[in-house]
Symmetry: C2
Subunit: 194 residues, 2 copies
DNA sequence: GTCTATACAGTGATAGAC
DNA sequence: GTCTATCACTGTATAGAC
């Protein structure tokens, strides 16, 4: 409901009615509306971070020097595909995550930080290993741009559908990954700027 | 105030007090809180779209076949630099725009569409001209990924600062463009996927 | 036409009964 | 631990002053 109508688009009364519980039970169990969001989010986010690290370990095991495309795939695939499965919140949760990523509120930032910072650091390290001649700061900038492409794909804002009469659809996650990974890999491999 | 504290983080009473006007004047002049946002946004967005098209016309005039990097610069520079000037709303407006871009509400989407779709279509056409061997859909996907990198940089979410101990700062727009344009250009030029 | 004061239904949060 | 009742506050609507 949060992802569909936004954080302020849905009231506690609508939630408690849907869940067939008393209004005050949210305050009791989660402290506040924000607390409910935080609990919801943590539950869904942890498996994504875990799956990322599992896939990263896999491609470290397979190759002495890990392949760039495999690392990107290990990072992006869980975020885009795992979330859409119903047990992880469905497509709505993917949108919610993208939304929180651009939210300026410090509370939501802490939630995201706690869930994903550790795995993100490991991926930056892996990227630096895969691109040994690249300055660290350059890899970090490119990681930032990758996050942007990922979140905007997850947000599924409808802009690119409108611009292309529906030809390009970020909601088609398989196709999105198919186009995204070679594009990002080429960017990561390009010569660092002065 | 909207960009700083979010759409629901600031009340009409706070706005009208700051502006030293009566509470009901917003409803009278703008219809609603959303209407106020829409009016605010349209005022600031139009100059950005205009400046984009002016720069695009410039690089069309300079080169028979326009250079990819110049087109990307013409698209990104007004969005990142023009917005931060005080007369266009300052850094807060840049953040606000990024925020609306990932908002699922249909009202905010229409606002963005109206302000930017026309210029975006012209840029996609220019990119296709600059990359004549590239399938149209591939250019469109890559344009979508570029939008993501741009919006996430504009949002200045603080994530990459946290991950890099402040070394990488998307708020430094000059440096952001410096790293972004070659990275995106390499992605755009890479071989299209099957 | 423009502005003002005020009322209204709905919000998240909370105190206190059981 | 779970409830009801109520709180202060929100965006909006409206009647009436100038």
């Amino acid at each position: 409901m949060f992802a569909e109508h936004g954080m302020s688009g849905v009231g506690l009364r609508a939630i408690t009615t849907e869940a067939e519980v008393n209004l005050a039970s949210i305050a009791y169990h989660f402290g506040s509306k924000d607390g409910l969001l935080e609990a919801l989010f943590a539950q869904r986010a942890t498996p994504i971070a875990q799956e990322r690290l599992r896939l990263l370990a896999e491609c470290n095991a397979a190759n002495a020097k890990p392949q760039l495309e495999q690392i990107l795939d290990a990072f992006l695939r869980p975020a885009l595909t795992l979330g859409v499965q119903p047990q992880f919140g469905g497509p709505a949760f993917v949108k919610l995550r993208a939304r929180l990523a651009t939210e300026p509120e410090t509370t939501t930032r802490k939630i995201l930080s706690k869930a994903f910072d550790q795995s993100s650091r490991q991926f930056i390290d892996a990227l630096i290993k895969a691109l040994p001649q690249m300055p660290r700061a350059e890899v970090e900038w490119r990681f930032h741009f990758m996050l942007g492409a990922m979140f905007y794909t997850m947000a599924d804002s409808g802009r690119i559908q409108a611009l292309t009469n529906g030809r390009v659809d970020p909601g088609d996650v398989k196709r999105a990954l198919h186009h995204m990974i070679p594009y990002l890999a080429a960017g990561f491999r390009s010569a660092p700027v002065a």
